[in-house]
Amino acid sequence: MLTEEEKYRYSRHIKLNEVGETGQQKLKQSNVLVIGAGGLGCSVLQYLSAAGVGTLGIIDFDTIELSNLQRQILFTTEDIGKNKAKVAAKRLSGINPNVDYIVYPKRLTTKNALSLFNDFDIVIDGSDNFATRYLVNDAAVITNTPLVYGAIYKFEGQVSVFNYQNGPTYRCLYPDFAGYGANTNCSDIGVMGVLPGMIGTHQANETLKIILGIGEVLSGKVLLVKALNNDSQKLSVSKDQHEIDKVMAKADEFENIDYDVLCNTIKSIGPEINASELKQMLGNQNMTIIDVRESFEKPRYKELNAKDIPLGVINSVDLELPLDEQIVVYCQHGIRSKKAIEILKKKGYQNLTNLTGGILTWN
């Protein structure tokens, strides 16, 4: 039931035939999770809070920086250094104290995504990198949660609703991330401040339509918006069942998939790597280094933290690594390691790199 205060607060909704008290009640009973309280998140959260969505989850590990304030309009200069999810919830409770704000001041990971998504009716993607976007898509597919997607680039934005009533998913539009390193930069680039406001508002609109069951939900379509010339168009996207099946087939190992590999390593590594390139990548969590020399061969460098698997046994040893793991193989001169790569390829490993010239080039 709506209280008297709520009836007045939402009176302009209630006056709409398409919403009414019944619709407002639906909003009050809904749970929505917003991934990222950045540009898109700040925009979508304000409207969903004001609209009276009953429970809003906000997940963001990041802290507010001065350069965020140009577009992340829930934050003020005094908030610099504080966690985005916490400050957003505080500000939003001023807009609408009736909403339950659930704050997750942490990173979305494969370990927490599924249980989190299961607690919400709708997930909104306001993340700012491909690794998270694929993680969010796959978790939404596995948990069968509708995903309200928005993404921006400089002056342009895309909006869609994925995984809605058996509709297409993000991977039906962009199947795989292989090769993204060639044309994308995961670090910050310029963006027109008003753009996430526009795209986030579209996301809020789609979310409200889903909850209320009104209008046409942007499923099977992707809306393109170009702020510079006001061009906008809707493109049809077909469902690709094969892509969805691939996600479901990996559902059991979801928690162990390393989505960060996309942005952090694939772009910087080819089939061959030299010692100085490898040095820069040391410590990267998403990479395994294998030494295929015999145990008595020298020199050995502890900082490589390599697994010792001599060439003679590599075919029979279980590496206990996922097949898409980034693997760098080395030996003394870079020749045996090439043979090892051939063997590992046959075993199904896909991301194999040879240390050119071998470990003798290390220093």
Partner: protein, 79 residues
Amino acid sequence: MKVIVKYLGNVAEQLKSEYEYIELPEATTYLQFLEVLNTLHPDLQGFVYKVAINQSIATEDVELKDDDEIAILPPYSGG
């Protein structure tokens, strides 16, 4: 025949062009068009994008027609 090709996101940036008209032999198919595009713009090698023909993301090798509108749509990651 002639088609209009609209470039979006970082593809437009790379080509320094928002759109262009491309002249094609009659009955050129979608996949043949991609070859023409790659020959015309070798810079696009390595770029990831989806192609929409007349506002529909292409899923099969259809024959193109005069005046078709083609959009080159790279993924965006920003938020």
